[in-house]
């Protein structure tokens, strides 16, 4: 399926990009980082306009994120249960809700681009936790525009090395994720040892 999605973007450009990133933002696992790098490469080859690419990637993602938030906030328990079941473990939503409350805006910002696999969960959890919509929208726009700019620019710079760059970024995302987990666990450990 990934091959077909990528060929849709190389053939149909911004319109396909808009649709695919929107679907991914709701929670369908699609290779968005690779897609944006490919788009950056296409921009450097003159096959796509950079502003159009940026607008399509940002607008599609923001709309998808807003849909996730709206389902969490106003969708009712049945819709939320359906989407959490689709995203993975149902029990994880409570944990994500707690994270959404604790991380707040910076959490929303970072899960748009640096820790993007958590993005759909945070959208839903922000909605169910009743995080104010205008703040969610602000951090969402900031994060998605940053993500589009970072990955499309990287694709432009490494336009002839898209697959290799995708491998590097994939490992870097895991490294940052593991590091964040280590920081949280380290803090908990430090608190426990201090109590003794």
């Amino acid at each position: 399926m990934n091959e077909q999605l990528l060929s849709l973007v190389t053939q149909y450009g911004p319109l396909a990009l808009f649709g695919i990133v929107g679907i991914a933002a709701v929670g369908v696992p699609l290779p968005i980082t690779l897609l944006l790098i490919v788009v950056g490469s296409m921009v450097s080859q003159g096959a796509m306009d950079i502003w159009l690419a940026m607008a399509a990637a940002s607008a599609g993602s923001i709309l998808g994120d807003q849909a996730g938030y709206a389902i969490g906030r106003w969708g009712g328990t049945a819709a939320v249960a359906k989407l959490t079941g689709f995203l993975g473990k149902k029990g994880s939503l409570d944990a994500m809700e707690a994270k959404a409350r604790a991380w707040g805006g910076p959490g929303i910002f970072l899960t748009r681009w640096l820790l993007s696999p958590l993005g759909p969960w945070i959208n839903l959890a922000s909605g169910t936790a009743g995080y104010p919509w205008h703040r969610f929208l602000f951090w969402d726009i900031l994060g998605e525009v940053t993500g589009a700019a970072v990955y499309i620019s990287l694709g432009r710079v490494f336009s002839d090395r898209v697959m290799a760059l995708d491998g590097v970024l994939g490992d870097m995302t895991w490294a940052v994720g593991a590091l964040l987990v280590a920081v949280v666990l380290g803090y908990q450990l430090w608190k426990r040892l201090r109590k003794r």
Partner: protein, 113 residues
């Protein structure tokens, strides 16, 4: 009390595991980044001929000629998979033909600038 110690130990182990994971992925990323400029970019079915030409620093007209296809004007962004479907030929066969043309165009031991 024993439960508390066990929980602390579990957190400490998870912490060490997370640190090990972060180091492992960071080292993998840095190793891949080191070879970023020299690694060979594989050809995939989703790529268009101009895209493959760009990643391998060869003229796209040469690649179109190698697979016997007349490029559409002004831009031909059909994917290899799409072209293979139109020609009623298997995708791997077309990719092999493109790879052969690229290998022939590149000087031994390196890529043309």
């Amino acid at each position: 009390m024993a439960d508390n110690s066990r929980r602390t130990l579990a957190i400490a182990l998870a912490f060490l595991l997370a640190i090990a994971g972060a180091l492992l992925f960071a080292s993998r990323a840095s190793r891949q980044a080191h070879h970023l400029r020299t690694a060979n970019e594989p050809i995939h079915g989703w790529m268009s001929i101009p895209f493959i030409a760009h990643t391998h620093h060869v003229p796209s007209s040469m690649l179109f000629a190698a697979i016997g296809v007349e490029p559409r004007q002004p831009h031909d962004h059909r994917s290899v998979r799409h072209i293979a479907h139109e020609l009623n030929r298997p995708v791997p066969e077309l990719i092999a033909q493109l790879q052969k043309a690229i290998d022939a165009a590149q000087p031994p031991g390196g890529k043309p600038k």
